[in-house]
């Protein structure tokens, strides 16, 4: 039997590029699957993103190395079929019809959580569905001072037990956000600062609190690993109507509403409570913001929203008594 001839592996550059592309692709694939099925982790997502950039580079090199056969493919009819499939799939995934949403909803990564904000004359409804078994709906019923033609600025975010911002559900990127939503802006800055100080470790106990209940990962609160001891967290709303004068005050301050969510004692419906208004404090040059009880300086701003109702549909979690995790009876 004749000995099989050794395949021609080409130059070192070809071999190197091909092998490196294949190996980094394995990392990309595994980290991609992990990023989908696991709760959000900066380590996994970071690995996936940066290896992805490397793969892009390697693929370009690979294309350069194989430009001739590629040109041949491009002249075949198959190119049109593959192009249609690619564009079609991308379009469907981007548009997110029901079945696609369901598939995405299987992800435990709260990064791709489904968020939706709707407004009407009666109010504003915000949906946040980080998991098919954990759907949050915040209904803000508008009050007498609400003007649909000139709606107030609103930010909605989650805070951990140490009152650190952990996720913005609804915010604003406009340049005057700092002025009109100062408390949310401050909370975001503190969050970014704490993240930076932690060096990327999202379990920032030393920065946020001496307790071990202050993870910055929303998944730790919504889909906790330790289902027997879920950690409470807060949903906070900042609302501000621009230039709403009241008595001698040319512009009333923003108002802060909040509700604590404790999955150990699951409640389907919870009302938002008025906390007060934020005020900047500078002590030895260090900025902080405190909330003050609403006093005579606040008038019509109290009527921007009539009430805020948070509904959490925990699916099977709630029927299991709250202390039991998803799917467990």
């Amino acid at each position: 039997m004749p000995k099989p001839s050794k395949p021609n592996l080409g130059s070192f550059r070809r071999r190197f590029t091909t092998l490196l592309t294949a190996l980094t692709f394995v990392v990309l694939a595994v980290s991609g699957i992990l990023a989908f099925v696991r709760p959000f982790s900066l380590h996994i997502v970071g690995l996936h993103a940066l290896i992805g950039f490397l793969v892009v580079l390697l693929v370009i090199l690979h294309v350069v190395n194989n430009i001739r056969p590629l040109k041949g493919y491009l002249h075949s009819r198959t190119v049109w079929i593959t192009l249609v499939i690619t564009v079609g799939l991308s379009g469907v995934i981007l548009l997110q019809p029901g079945p696609v949403k369901q598939i995405i909803g299987l992800s435990k990564n709260l990064g791709p959580a489904l968020e939706r904000f709707e407004t009407s004359e009666d109010g504003m409804v915000f949906h946040y569905d980080p998991d098919p078994q954990y759907r949050m709906t915040l209904t803000l019923r508008t009050g007498g001072a609400f003007d649909p033609e000139n709606p107030p600025r609103i930010a909605i975010w989650l805070e951990n037990q140490s009152f650190y911002h952990i996720k913005t559900l609804l915010g604003s990127n406009s340049v005057d956000t700092e002025k009109f939503l100062p408390y949310w802006s401050y909370k975001r800055r503190e969050y970014e600062k704490a993240k930076k100080e932690s060096g990327g470790d999202m379990e920032v106990h030393a920065v946020s609190s001496p307790t071990e209940n202050s993870s910055f990962d929303p998944a730790d609160y919504i889909l906790p690993g330790d289902k027997e001891n879920p950690m409470p967290y807060r949903l906070v709303v900042e609302i501000n109507q621009e230039n709403d004068a009241h008595e001698s005050i040319p512009d009333q301050p923003p108002l802060i509403y909040a509700v604590e969510i404790d999955n150990a004692y699951p409640a389907a419906f919870q009302l938002l409570e008025l906390m007060g208004y934020p005020k900047q404090e500078l002590e030895e040059g260090k900025e902080s913001w405190a909330i003050y009880y609403a006093d005579e300086g606040v008038g019509s701003a109290l009527e921007l929203i009539d009430s805020g109702l948070l509904t959490i549909d925990r699916g099977e979690m709630s029927s299991a008594g709250g202390k039991t995790g998803r799917g467990e009876k």
């Binding site: 008025l274 007060g276 003050y292 009880y293 006093d295």
Partner: protein
């Protein structure tokens, strides 16, 4: 107030000489007697007889306020304290950060307790929290008090209204009399018979109520106590909290269990010092106890009453604190809902079926979870002041505290700067 020496004429003379100066100076009854009777032959008859309108048993957080209030309202008053100073948990226990006097941006507890705290802080150059600011954590509105100043100011306020202080004394037996009570008390080198119209039991564990045979409630396992200390850097009283170690099983039921708690607490501190190799800068002389006996009262405050902020018909003071049950694994305070201000009814201070006795402090009739919020210092001060008023009015009107007109109690409380539920 009437004191009669039953031994020698010489002792009577000295006793009266010293007590005669009580209006101008502090009367330290037991110390006085030790000086006079140190060479007396042992016998079991009381050496002193003291006749007062109101006897306050326990000079702790509630008792101190109750005694000052009774004195200010015109009752001759004697306060027994088995330790060496007034203030209890705040001074001897070192929990010198009382709270909570405010709720939802308003002050809800004031009166004599607040006056003492305020004076202590002002004299010490300390700071008050801004009650207009929403605290992120409930303890941010606790007030740092210099425990040493507080104890001295409390004595000064007692002295100012003629309240007689008897340190190192406690009741040994009690008998009912047509006019009230005969209470035989002991201290080292002292045997005193007190005749009083009303007793305010502020012993922390409703000890007088127990001696009288009224039923009391107690949990199988008490919440842990805390031993307060400071290692490493120096301690700045009135400016900071100190270090704390749980003393599991701490039980203030009797001298034996309290001894065990203190020895255990100090042993834990020693272990920490050895482990961390730091200098021990401060150590409280006694464990801070959280829980003991509670009375079975005419009214029980349930956790539902507490968390819903029920306004009792006979409410006499406000309270405010999260439901705060400490367990072996720590504590997870459950804050009250915005706007909620619990109240304390007079009936919760009256042992069921009793006459001429009222309690104040953590032995208030309440279920365990309600008590975990009610037991804190500001609330106990509010109860103490109300009990002082009720006992004084009862003594003046020859009735029992539960039968005193609520309107009258409220009026006297207002006259002495207390905040009556509904007023804040």
């Amino acid at each position: 107030m009437k004191d009669t020496d039953q031994s020698t004429a010489r002792r009577k003379f000295l006793q009266q000489s010293i007590l005669g100066s009580a209006g101008a100076g502090l009367a330290i009854a037991s110390t006085t007697h030790v000086a006079v009777g140190a060479d007396e032959k042992e016998n079991h008859e009381p050496e002193l007889a003291t006749e007062v309108d109101v006897l306050v048993v326990g000079g702790g957080t509630a008792g101190t306020i109750a005694a000052i209030q009774a004195g200010r309202a015109g009752a001759s008053t004697l306060i027994l304290e088995r330790n060496s100073q007034l203030g209890g948990t705040m001074t001897t226990g070192g929990v010198a950060f009382p709270g909570l006097f405010d709720a939802w941006g308003k002050q809800i507890i004031a009166g004599i307790g607040w006056e003492l705290v305020k004076e202590s802080v002002e004299l010490d150059g300390g700071k008050f929290p801004d009650f207009a600011k929403v605290p992120q954590r409930h303890w941010q509105n606790q007030i740092y008090v210099n425990q040493f100043l507080y104890a001295i100011l409390a004595e000064e306020k007692c002295e100012a209204v003629g309240v007689q202080i008897a340190y190192y004394e406690f009741p040994q037996s009690i008998a009912e009399t047509p006019d009230g009570w005969q209470v035989d008390c002991v201290g080292f080198g002292t045997r005193r018979r007190v005749l009083c119209k009303q007793i305010i039991d502020c012993s922390g564990g409703a000890e007088v109520v127990g001696m009288l045979g009224f039923p009391r409630l107690r949990e199988e396992e008490r919440q842990p106590g805390s031993m307060l200390f400071k290692i490493g850097g120096g301690h700045l009283p009135g400016r900071e909290q100190v270090h704390r170690l749980y003393v599991h099983g701490a039980d203030s039921t009797n001298s034996r269990t309290a001894t065990l708690a203190n020895v255990t607490g100090r042993r834990s501190v020693l272990a920490k010092v050895r482990k961390e190799k730091k200098q021990l800068m401060h150590l409280q002389p006694e464990t801070g106890f959280r829980e003991s006996y509670r009375i079975v009262g005419e009214t029980m405050v349930t956790v539902n009453d507490y968390t819903s902020g029920k306004r009792f018909d006979d409410a006499i003071s406000n309270a405010f604190y999260p439901v705060d049950l400490h367990t072996k694994s720590g504590v997870k305070p459950k804050p009250l809902k915005p706007g909620t201000v619990p109240t304390i009814p007079l009936g919760a201070l009256i042992p069921k079926g009793s006459r001429n006795i009222i309690v104040a402090g953590r032995s208030v009739c309440s279920d365990r979870l309600a008590n975990s919020g009610l037991r804190v210092q500001a609330s106990c001060m509010g109860m103490g002041q109300a009990a002082g008023v009720a006992a004084t009015l009862a003594a003046k009107n020859n009735t029992t505290p539960f039968e005193v007109s609520l309107q009258q109690i409220h009026q006297v409380l207002r006259d002495h700067d207390a905040i009556v539920p509904g007023d804040a």
